[in-house]
Amino acid sequence: MAKIEINFGRCKGCGLCANACPKACIELSKSTRNNKGYLVAEFVKPDACIGCAMCATMCPDCCITVER
């Protein structure tokens, strides 16, 4: 059991989290923009998440909280 929470308000849509995720659980949204206009990262495959925190480790903006 693991999950992540992405703080959309802080997200700049850089994609480094998605790039780091070994299970391809994260994708950049094609439509959801935050208040700053960024297409945010979305947790698209919650079931595959192993809570490894590699996404959060690479996130430059401290958007991701990981629970396991």
Binding site: K12, Y38, R68
Partner: protein
């Protein structure tokens, strides 16, 4: 389930002003995590530079000082000499450390000041729009080397930690990177070691962190990580160039 990863307390809630994918944010977080883990936020004073991280004073929850361009090691010296039992770190870029502030950097090391310099090398002046830095690679195109850095005209990049490792006052001189998860973890270990050195009054510690500048490199954040690996790492090899307890060795060996 319990939280295994969240924003460290030593980072404020402020949203970082850095461009998307800029790895400054990762390095900020690593410093903050080390401060949290050592429980020293209330005893730490950070000094920020001029450059992209000029506003880092808004991002760290410890006391912060904004220094003039290149002068952070001198400012840190003033703080540390006044408050020898507090932790003092500077957070500086390549222009700050190795161009306008070379003298301050070298002499803080030579004096064996018990401070930590977190040196962010992204081979460019980011804040001013991507001019040639002292660490810009040969051939690298920047705003002021539009045809690529020509070493016959612009000279050669400075390998900062190699240079500082030759000084007797340096306790730790290491180069790390934040391009991959294992490298980020290694970078944190090295920053922790630098702060531990300060706790042990072991001497001057500098950790150079290879970082990206997707905006001024004209690349996507992911492609920028690739450039860091393919172009920067061969010129700036990762590793520990010096690791020695300078001050206590003197006493211990006598």
């Amino acid at each position: 389930m319990s939280v295994v990863f969240e924003k460290p307390h030593a980072l404020t809630d402020a949203v970082l002003h850095y461009c998307p994918g800029c790895t400054h944010g990762i390095i900020h977080r690593l410093v903050a995590e080390v401060i949290d883990e050592m429980g020293i936020e209330g005893d730490t004073i950070g000094v920020c530079p001029v450059g992209c991280s000029v506003m880092a004073y808004d991002y760290f929850n410890c006391d912060m000082i904004e220094a003039a361009h290149g002068r952070a090691p001198a400012v840190a010296t003033g703080v540390k000499r006044s408050l020898p039992d507090k932790f003092v770190f500077t957070y500086q870029g390549d222009g700050d450390v190795a161009a306008i502030g070379t003298a301050e950097t070298v002499h803080a090391a030579a004096r064996g000041e018990n401070i930590v310099i977190v040196f962010v090398n992204n081979t460019t002046y980011g804040m001013t729009g991507g001019q040639m830095a002292p660490t810009t690679l040969p051939g690298q195109v920047t705003q002021t080397t539009p045809f690529g850095r020509d070493t016959a005209v612009n000279g050669y990049p400075i390998r900062v930690v190699e240079m500082l490792s030759t000084l007797s006052g340096t306790a730790l001189a290491a180069r790390v990177a934040v391009d991959t998860v294992p490298h980020v973890r290694e970078a944190k270990k090295m920053i922790r070691k630098a702060f531990e050195n300060q706790k042990n009054k072991a001497g001057f510690s500098v950790v150079e962190v290879l970082s990206t500048c997707p905006t001024n490199w004209g690349m996507s954040p992911v492609a920028a990580l690739k450039r860091l690996q393919d172009e920067m790492m061969p010129y700036y090899p990762l590793g520990v160039y010096k690791d020695e307890d300078i001050h206590n060795k003197k006493e211990g060996n006598s």
